[in-house]
């Protein structure tokens, strides 16, 4: 697939948001993934051209960050946190189950292109461990069974809500959001749940506040 002229127009829109054009590179690479499902050679060339960089400079950035895919991601890119907290609380078991059920490993895609798997690092949601993500939306307090359930729903096209965020859309749709184009879903779903707010609630009960912060 080659990139359309409208992608270029969107890329220029991203560039116009920044005082330094080069700052636009990260969202532009998400834009490329929104179009292509991964960072394609055409996408690298487009970014290089629009930002007056060499393709090597763009490739250096694209290969540094793990959120940029070198080959097409699944329609739903599923992450399982395997860092110690999540891993011990069930993340490792979830990974085993998903990986064997889908028959794919880390950074691999099912033959039908529906699901790709990634062993992800800490998502800063340890209160909800074990944590999974689907196209980077949170799926909290997972079990091997709930993980299989979610993935099966995604494969069969049923709507899945994030446990802390909006309904889960396709990888490409979500990449467009990451590129900085408003999807209108900012207020959809749970924003912050009991577990997240427990500490704040307790601090308020005790009349605590951070030092130096004026009320």
């Amino acid at each position: 697939m080659s990139l359309s002229e409208s992608t270029r127009v969107q890329a220029r829109e991203i560039i116009s948001r920044y005082p330094q054009a080069r700052s636009a590179l990260l969202p532009m690479l998400h834009l490329v993934q929104a179009e292509e499902g991964y960072v394609s050679a055409d996408g690298i060339a487009l970014c290089a051209e629009e930002l007056s960089l060499t393709t090597a400079e763009v490739a250096a950035v694209a290969t540094f960050y793990t959120m940029y895919h070198r080959k097409p991601a699944g329609e739903y890119h599923v992450g399982v946190c395997i860092n110690p907290g999540c891993g011990i609380l069930g993340g490792d078991a979830i990974w085993e189950k998903l990986s064997s059920r889908l028959g794919i490993g880390h950074d691999e895609v099912t033959p039908d292109g529906k699901i790709s798997l990634e062993r992800i690092e800490c998502q800063a949601a340890c209160t909800h461990a074990p944590v999974m993500t689907a196209n980077w939306e949170f799926l909290d307090n997972m079990t091997p069974e709930s993980a299989i359930d979610v993935v099966e729903k995604l494969v069969s096209g049923k709507e899945v809500m994030s446990t802390r965020g909006p309904r889960i859309r396709t990888f490409k749709e979500n990449e467009l959001t990451l590129a900085g184009f408003d999807d209108g879903l900012v207020d959809e779903g749970v924003q912050a749940d009991e577990q997240m707010l427990a500490g704040l609630k307790r601090a308020k009960e005790l009349g605590q506040s951070a030092p130096g912060v004026k009320k």
């Binding site: 050679a41 690298i44 060339a45 960089l53 060499t54 393709t55 090597a56 400079e57 763009v58 490739a59 250096a60 290969t63 540094f64």
Partner: protein, 738 residues
């Protein structure tokens, strides 16, 4: 001007020193003679603290700090590995990490024997590794360009090469890709590291990760005999080091000359040396009565040459080419004027004009060195006229780019379009084709002041009025003026007097040969460089003596061929564009190798005369500078005015025999403005053919915004273009071609 430098007092290993504020710790240690081990640190590159080898202890700071990236502050107490256990342990630990994935292939590695990693593993590492796993390996080597090879498993990710490419050359085609344990230097798939300066990355690589296809596995450093030399490829005047093994040049390196090339050189200077040993003339040749050229002894060849020249000395012309040393140039000047008695002498193997002759005589010849590289760096603005530094004097380009990036110098170029080099210097285009140049030069005064420099290239001779306009501009604005020829021998030749004062210039010599000019003495000239048909002139000449290093089209037609030494076989001096003498020693002392000066001396003796060392310019009558008349040739339908110059890596004869270098040359394109493309029915990306007077070339067309209308640009005599016409010609431009 007094410069006040704020200083701070610091203690290094118990020694108290006062140093300029802002000095890096590693530099302070160097001043004290303390070597802190390092890989990524390079004085001419920005600090990056990538390798972590130079860790030292700073009192009051809990963790060891990279001395290559921390500047001193007043009262700082620094302890290096010599006095701090913490620093010593930190360095040994970093070394152990660096060696975890490093192969122990030193015995077959090009760098072994001159390798900072090998050396510092000995001085600052430990004898044994504790790593018991399997080392990471990569397929090896990969080509980052045709010339530069990368063995990734040897790399310590110091980022010297990538920083050089970005910060110095402005060609960031190599980058650190991936991250963590997978981090590696690489290129993108579609763009190799084709930079004119790529060889420097090999030289500054502190391990054996980058090697050249030319030198890989050819020799060990400890088998080489090294000689400091000067580059013969252009007028930049680089200091080089030439390394020889068993009387064969194995490689050339950029050598230290802070006032000239700093520590860099270009790939032409680094790799284009096979010509010194290929196709060499080994003995004199003399044409017999049957017209056959055959070997002859030196006495016979000199006798025949002298006999041939004796009767026609005053009607003989001398063309010396651009690669003569100062010493050889003086010999040619004396031989022509005093021995032969002719003023028909010209060093310019290219398009020339009498306006240029007057300009050179009045504004350049024998002048003291009043514009230097340092002046370029200090200038507020630099105006380039008929001069594309990246292609025509690459070290000038590097220095101008450095000055421009540091913010002191603004670069302006009178040129038909914004070249890649001009963009890398953040320069401003003063758009002008050959026909607009003179008026644009005159109007450039607003960009110049007494703190400016005007650099004018040898191509200005192709534009009538340009040199006069430049001289007037310098006088009006107070800007300093320097002339930068392409060839290493040109300034020395000019100072020696190889300019046709009261004589015929190169073009006039070519057209008068067979009539007023009867004999020719030709040094290192390639016929295609000359504006005019030199080969048919040779045909018409009564007697031709050729002094050459190799078999050429000219030696094949000459009556007497006298073999002369190449730069590796003789000592000498090139005078660079600044007027700075760049001396070199003989790299391979060769019994029987005679320099041009030696041969001319013998020939003079054979003619019963001797060479003198008189100063030509002391008594020369300089012609007054006045503008030649501008061309009035009309530009018709399907035509445009040609603008052209040579790429740095072109089809020049001194680059022969080095295919890896040739493969990194830029390939020709044709450029026209959008309006001109429309007028001439040319399609962007298609093929365009440029032709004139039986000479034509076809190349892909790039429609170039901001370019002067009614001008077509195409490189001369370069990869993909055999075009050999001067700028200013009216040429036919058409779509298509092969």
């Amino acid at each position: 001007m007094t410069v006040t430098t704020q200083t701070v007092t610091v203690t290094v290993d118990g020694v108290v020193v006062e140093v300029p504020a802002g000095t890096l710790i590693i530099r302070v240690a160097e001043m004290l003679g303390t070597a802190i081990p390092r890989f990524c640190d390079h004085p001419l590159l920005d600090p990056v603290a990538a390798c972590r080898m130079c860790l030292v202890e700073i009192e009051g700071q809990g963790k060891p700090q990279p001395s290559c990236a921390v500047t001193v502050s007043d009262g700082m107490v620094i302890k290096t590995q010599h006095t701090s256990e913490m620093a010593e342990k930190a360095q040994a630990g970093v070394m152990e990490f660096l060696l975890i994935n490093h192969p122990l292939d030193c015995p077959i590695c090009d760098k072994g024997g001159e390798c900072p990693l090998q050396n510092q593993a000995m001085t600052n590492g430990q004898g044994e590794t504790r790593f018991e796993g399997t080392k990471r390996t990569f397929p090896k080597p990969i080509n980052v360009s045709a010339q530069v090879l990368l063995d990734r498993e040897r790399c310590v990710s110091c980022a010297r090469c990538t920083r050089f490419a970005d910060q110095i050359a402005g060609d960031p085609f190599i980058e650190l890709l991936e991250r963590g344990a997978k981090q590696q230097v690489g290129t993108s798939e579609d763009q190799p590291f084709d930079s004119y300066f790529s060889g420097n990355t090999i030289q500054i690589c502190p391990v054996g990760a980058l090697t050249s296809a030319k030198y890989r596995f050819r020799s060990r450093p400890f088998d080489l005999i090294s000689t400091p030399t000067a580059c013969e490829h252009c007028a930049s005047g680089c200091a080089l080091r030439t390394d020889v093994r068993r009387s064969t040049v194995m490689r050339r390196l950029a050598w230290d000359a802070p006032e000239v090339n700093e520590e860099w050189n270009c790939d032409k200077g680094r790799f284009a040396f096979p010509y010194t040993s290929e196709g060499r003339l080994t003995h004199p040749l003399v044409r017999d009565e049957a017209g056959n050229l055959g070997p002859a002894s030196w006495p016979e060849a000199l006798r025949v040459a002298a006999a041939g020249l004796a009767g026609i000395g005053k009607s003989t012309a001398v063309l010396t080419g651009g690669r003569v040393t100062v010493e050889d140039a003086k010999a040619y000047a004396s031989f022509a004027r005093e021995v032969l008695g002719t003023n028909d002498v010209d060093f310019r193997a290219r398009a020339v004009s009498n306006e240029e002759t007057a300009f050179l005589a009045n504004h350049v010849a024998n002048k003291p060195m009043d514009v230097t590289y340092g002046d370029l760096e200090a200038a507020k603005s630099v105006l380039l006229v008929s001069f594309e530094p990246e292609d025509e004097s690459p070290i000038v380009f590097l220095r101008l780019r450095k000055a421009a990036l540091s913010g002191t110098t603004k670069v302006f170029a009178v040129a038909p379009y914004t070249s890649a080099g001009l963009a890398k210097m953040k320069g401003t285009l003063l758009a002008a084709g050959p026909r607009e140049e003179v008026s644009v030069i005159a109007s450039a005064a607003s960009h110049l002041s007494g703190d400016s420099v005007i650099l004018v290239g040898e191509r200005a001779a192709q534009t009538p009025g340009a040199l006069t306009a430049v001289a007037e501009l310098a006088a009006k604005t107070g800007a300093k003026l320097a002339w930068i020829p392409r060839r290493a021998g040109d300034r020395g030749a000019l100072d020696a007097g190889l300019l046709p004062i009261d004589g015929r210039n190169t073009s006039e010599i070519v057209s008068a040969t067979g009539s007023a000019v009867k004999g020719l003495v030709i040094g290192g000239v390639s016929p295609e460089d000359v504006d005019g048909d030199l080969l048919s002139a040779i045909d018409k000449a009564q007697f031709v003596v050729s002094l050459e290093t190799r078999h050429t089209e000219i030696t094949a037609e000459a009556d007497v061929v006298l073999p002369v030494a190449v730069v590796t076989e003789k000592a000498g001096t090139f005078r660079n564009w600044e007027g700075r003498d760049r001396s070199f020693a003989a790299v391979i002392p060769t019994p029987g190798a005679l320099s041009d000066a030696d041969v001319l001396g013998e020939l003079a003796r054979e003619l019963g005369k001797s060479l003198s060392v008189s100063d030509f310019w002391a008594s020369a009558t300089k012609p007054a500078l006045k503008a030649d008349a501008a061309s009035t040739e009309s530009v018709g339908n399907g035509q445009a005015v040609l603008s052209t110059w040579r790429h740095l890596l072109d089809k020049g004869s001194l680059q022969s025999g080095e295919p890896y270098l040739a493969a990194t040359a830029r390939v020709a394109v044709v450029r026209v403005s959008p309006a001109t493309a429309q007028k001439l029915n040319l399609v962007d990306g298609g093929t365009a053919t440029v032709s004139c007077c039986g000479n034509s070339a076809s190349a892909p067309l790039i429609v170039t915004a901001g370019m002067t209308d009614d001008v077509v640009w195409l490189p001369a005599n370069s990869e993909g273009s055999s075009l050999n016409l001067p700028s200013g010609c009216v040429v036919e431009v058409s779509q298509g071609g092969n």
